[in-house]
Amino acid sequence: MGELDALRVREEVLQAMYWMRSEGLAETPDADLLARFLAVPAATLSPYLERFAGEGYLEAAEAGYRLTDRGQEAGKRTFAEEFADLTRPTHGECDDDCWCHESPEEAARCLEGKAEHAHAH
């Protein structure tokens, strides 16, 4: 497996495992469950999981794998980074009656708030 492939798969796996865990769906998914989740063959995924365990991102648990602290931090961080540029709100996404239209300063504050997901109309 190539290093770039491993990096890409690692991000996918860690993000999926973090999401599954945070939603209460699975704490220690096995290769089959993860493969179904990511829509890839389990046989393809298994060597990667072993590698990520060796690198300290996962640990074997029950019949599957659990995120280590390092894996959990990486999963959460890369999830946010992956979509940061795509989903950053832009001015004009608010409703017409949003207070951010009152002045450039209010608009700037609105953008900051939305970026932190604290903005609700």
Binding site: W19, M20, E23, G24, L38, A39, T87, H117
Partner: protein, 133 residues
């Protein structure tokens, strides 16, 4: 004439999960698990969270959905999803398309109903798992 009833797979548009998720998020922002819970009335089962996960990621890549971490008092932070303005526009387009399709379906079913009664066919419809979008 009445035909024997068997479990029926509902015929819905391809990628029907997408407008359904946009609709659920139009109603209110939600976590993944909550979306899974709200999908069955729209004909989807709860047994494929992976399909939901992939669909949400695809919607987010397309800019139709925005998500952010929401701190959880117990356990890890959870991802909460909300509709973007672009998502709202796509949802509206989907709804108009579905409405146009419904008119054609009603004509078809009305004309077929001249030959065979389909009463009860909807009661036997099976729930589907979220398919990859």
């Amino acid at each position: 004439m009445r035909m024997p009833t068997e479990p029926v797979e509902p015929a819905v548009p391809r990628n029907f999960l997408r407008p359904c998720l946009l609709l659920l998020l139009r109603e209110q922002p939600a976590h993944g698990y909550e979306l899974l819970e709200r999908l069955p009335p729209l004909g989807f089962g709860r047994d494929d969270p992976g399909g939901l996960y992939r669909a949400l990621r695809a919607l987010e890549r397309e800019g139709l959905v925005h998500s952010s971490w929401q701190p959880s008092p117990e356990g890890p932070d959870r991802r909460i999803y909300e509709l973007t303005r672009a998502g709202m526009e796509v949802l509206h387009g989907s709804a108009k398309s579905l409405a146009a399709g419904r008119e054609m379906l009603e004509v078809f079913l009305s004309r077929y109903g001249e030959f065979v009664s389909l009463a009860g066919a909807g009661d036997t419809a099976r729930q589907r798992s979220p398919a990859p979008s």
